[in-house]
């Protein structure tokens, strides 16, 4: 048994033991922290910064020194790491490690720059070090190897005007790295169509590439010579220069003009195809290209009467002209719809019409004329621009006219005839020289008269008059209002106005010489080339026709050659000869051609309305087809060899898939031997194709048989076939050489029609 005092003693001894033990342990611990391990560090001691040309070895190896506790650490493995992509390099043999020597120094294998230029860092790391060492390296671009045009091509500019964009090139090495500091020499042609640089007023300029390898010219200004040319950008040591395709173009000469378009807009409900519209108008362009004018517009859903507009002109990159008209009318342009004019309309068109233009006038001409096409996302159309001379008063003569389009029910409609404005300025019909025919979906009315009708005695400031025509009551045809813009005293462009007919029609009229005095001799022995579009009662509802018809010397029979295509059937290339037919001529100038046939594939009737000056309007008079068009008398040599020179080519077509309209315009150069390559600006906005609906595309090869039958020859055109050309139909088989027949009016005018299933296409060439 232990007494209480003894228990206290043992407790004291135990406490002392514990304290002593803890003290010893604590002292031991304090002794360890006072001797820390040596600090390991690594530093780049050589080889940084440095640079090398892409693909070349850096001059110096990458050297890193490793210390431990401030002393060189030998035998330590150092790992060098370059970027995995972008600007980088590689070590010889793929060896990216090195072992430090007795001095703590690790030296890399030879390091070679990769193919991408630019700065980067290679790191050297070692186990235990807080941070890697870094080597700053730069891969420099190699020698300039390629120069390419970056922007500024193709471009067009008006004569003596600056091109919108500078000429920009990019110079790269063989690995596509931009090369800076390279001298680029821009050189424009020394003579002919060319231009000068703003920096020195000459046709040559040098510029230096920047860090991005880009050299930018000073402003380049066209000289006063029309034409397309190439400005080269060259670098010494590079064999291939960069080419910039530029065009100096004539813009519209200051003056007054009429314009007329027929086409299809997108105002159908909802997106029904092939809804026609017509526009006629006039404008004045001043010396700066500013435009102000007036126009009338009709489509199936509404009429827009006598609206004013402003506008501007520009040169397109391909050298065509472009006219932008701003009508401010919500029924016109992207955003408009068929509700225009209704209460609660949602139509919000931007009012803009964009017209691409290929001039038919010579550069030296004091006025301009052109084929035009609407080239915006709202409508596609083709037509003509002509210098305007407005007569002081409406000439008191007969007007041979025809208009075509749709009636109020959407059925194809054509009306043609002669409107005789008598000496009192009235269209009474009592003088017997007014007459009209109508083909309304195959329902024919012939040789109808007008009841008292009127026309404005004085054109307005833009040459606009209104014909208010009252067909005789027995005809059952309601009042027809035709708005006319005078091109000059003998030629008018027509568009239907607000009237009881509620048709959607447009056309032309020619003032007659010899009103009321036409005889058989007026047509006898002459040949008229005609070209028309319309519809037939076959499966597709589309029809194009072209040909030449001759009033034989016997005064009663007709002959000629005709081509047609409705995408159900078509005549062969070269057309089909008219084996028989008959004609009569009224005193009004109305020629009635009947039973024109090849005795095999076609038989048709047509009216021509002569103006006495070699022009006529055409209207078919068959129960199963309806077409309206223009006709011109053949004159002079009819050999294909006279198809020579620069022509504006107007194109109106219908594709064979969606059966929607195609319009195009562009210049072609016919050599008189058999070729006429060129290009077009083409609009196929109603396409169902996923491809681009606007395109600037080549038309080549384009051929004709210059030694063919005089007046009628054949050839092929490549580049207009929108459902095959890949530019219009991505994934398509490629452009086909479409078959055409050409009918020669004279050296200045040639028409063409496609003779195959690929597409409906009418061409009209007008010599510049």
């Amino acid at each position: 048994m232990i007494c209480k005092s003894h228990r206290s003693f043992f407790a004291l001894i135990l406490s002392l033991f514990v304290v002593l033990t803890l003290t010893i342990l604590t002292n031991c611990s304090s002794s360890n922290s006072s001797t820390p391990p040596p600090v390991v560090s690594i530093a780049a001691t050589s080889g940084t910064p440095q640079s090398a040309t892409v693909g070349a070895a850096f001059a110096a190896p990458l050297v890193a020194t490793v210390t431990s506790g401030g002393s060189p650490a030998s035998g330590v493995t150092v790992t060098f790491t370059a970027p995995s992509n972008g600007a980088t390099g590689s070590f010889a043999g793929g060896a990216n490690t090195a072992t430090t020597n007795s001095s703590g120094v690790a030296t890399s294998a030879v390091f070679t720059a990769g193919t991408t230029a630019g700065p980067y860092a290679v790191t050297a790391s070692v186990s235990g070090a807080m941070a890697p060492a870094s080597f700053s390296l730069t891969n420099n671009a190699g020698a300039a190897a390629t120069i390419t045009p970056t922007s500024g091509t193709p471009q067009g500019a008006a004569l003596s005007s600056a091109f919108t964009a500078p000429l920009v090139t990019t110079v790269v090495d063989s690995d596509s790295n931009p090369v800076s500091g390279v001298t680029v020499t821009y050189t424009a042609p020394a003579s002919g169509a060319s231009g000068i640089f703003a920096s020195n007023g000459t046709a040559t300029e040098t510029d230096t590439t920047n860090a991005s390898g880009v050299a930018t010219s000073s402003a380049f200004t066209a000289n006063s010579t029309v034409g397309s040319y190439v400005v080269t950008a060259a670098v010494t040591g590079i064999s291939a220069a960069a080419d910039f395709g530029l065009t100096n173009a004539v813009t519209l000469k200051a003056g007054d003009y009429t314009f007329w378009l027929s086409g299809s807009d997108t105002n159908a409900n909802p997106n029904s195809s092939y809804i026609p519209y017509y526009v006629a108008g006039a404008f004045t362009v001043d010396g700066t290209g500013a435009i102000s004018g007036e126009q009338d517009f009709v489509d199936f859903n509404y009429v827009v009467s006598q609206i004013s507009f402003t506008g501007s002109t520009a040169v397109t990159p391909d050298g065509n002209l472009q006219i932008t008209l701003n009508t401010g009318n919500v029924c016109i342009g992207p955003g408009s719809d068929y509700t225009c004019g209704q209460i609660g309309s949602t139509s919000a068109g931007d009012g803009q019409e964009i017209l691409n233009v290929t001039l038919t006038s010579l550069p030296s001409s004091t006025t301009s004329s052109a084929r035009i096409t609407e080239f915006d996302s709202w409508a596609t159309a083709g037509g003509q621009l002509e210098p305007q001379t407005v007569p002081a008063t409406t000439p008191l003569v007969g007007y041979a006219f025809s208009v075509g389009g749709l009636d109020g029910n959407g059925t194809p409609l054509g009306i043609g005839g002669v409107i005789d404005v008598d000496s009192s300025g009235n269209i009474s019909g009592s003088n017997g020289s007014s007459v009209f025919d109508e083909n309304d979906g195959g329902t024919l009315l012939q040789a109808q008269s007008f009841s008292p009708s009127t026309v404005d005695a004085t054109p307005d400031g833009f040459g606009r008059v209104t014909f208010t025509l009252n067909p005789n009551a027995a005809s059952g045809v309601p009042q027809i209002v035709l708005v006319a813009y005078f091109v000059n005293g003998t030629h008018l462009r027509l568009v239907e106005g607000a009237d009881a007919l509620v048709g959607t029609t447009g056309g032309q009229a020619f003032a007659q010489t010899g009103t009321g005095t036409f005889t058989t001799a007026s047509f006898q022995g002459s040949s008229y080339v005609f070209q028309a579009g319309g519809s037939d009662s076959s499966t597709n509802g589309v029809l194009q026709v072209a040909g030449v018809v001759t009033g034989n010397a016997d005064g009663t029979t007709a002959s000629g050659n005709v081509s047609f295509n409705d995408l159900t059937s078509f005549t062969p290339q070269g057309g089909v000869a008219i084996a028989s037919g008959a004609y009569t001529v009224d005193p009004t100038g109305r020629v009635t051609l009947t039973a024109l046939t090849d005795n095999a594939t076609f038989s048709y009737n047509v009216q021509l309305y002569l103006d006495g000056n070699g022009n006529a309007r055409a209207l078919s008079m068959d129960s199963s087809d309806e077409f309206v068009g223009v006709s011109n008398q053949q004159k002079g040599s009819l050999n294909g060899s006279i198809f020579s020179g620069t022509y504006a080519m107007g194109v109106i077509g219908v594709d064979p898939i969606s059966f929607n309209e195609i319009d195009a315009v562009g210049p072609v150069v016919a050599d008189g031997v058999g070729s006429f390559p060129g290009f077009v600006d083409l609009n196929w906005i109603l396409s169902l194709s996923p491809g681009p609906t606007f395109a600037d595309a080549p038309v080549s090869p384009a051929t004709f048989d210059a030694t063919g039958t005089p007046g009628v020859f054949t050839g092929n055109v490549t580049g207009l076939d929108v459902t095959n050309c890949q530019v219009y139909s991505p994934g398509g088989p490629g452009c086909t050489a479409d078959a055409f027949t050409y009918y020669l009016v004279n050296a200045s005018t040639v028409v063409g029609i496609e003779n195959d299933v690929n597409q409906l296409t009418l061409l009209r060439f007008e010599l510049q």
């Binding site: 109020g408 594939t601 076609f602 969606s658």
Partner: protein, 167 residues
Amino acid sequence: MRRSRLFPVPLSARLLVGLLFAISSIPLGAQVTAKSGAGRSFGPSYDAARETTISGPIQEVVTQHQAGYPAGLHLLVAGPQGVVDIHVGPFLNKETIADFRTGASVQVIGAALSLHGKNYFLARQLTAGGRTITVRSERGFLVHQSAPRVAGSRRDVKSDEQKGSEL
């Protein structure tokens, strides 16, 4: 390049070849061939003198067009004498086309046409669901169907009414 006197349009509608073959083998009550010689204008056309009426359910609404196949909408209708390819054309608006449904009954006034060895029935007037649609004029011209219009009038958007919401 074809050089025959009058070229038929080649049928490249491979997807429809089998169907067309089947259809063409079925005689139509009003089957005619294209007219020839004098009196014909340009190619095969609608012959109003040969109009008949066909009634039956729509078996298929064919909207996919292939080159060479008559343009636009076709309805395959099961008539008393078999399936008939009703050609409706390209000028109907989408709202109207959407109204044609498989199984729905339709009555069609039109005329048959043989084209390149195939038989079609060109619709002039369709009646379906109590609605009558004019496809062609009495002379057989396809009618363009657009926005509804008030007969005998048309909106005249004068220049002084530009930009207004009520024109």
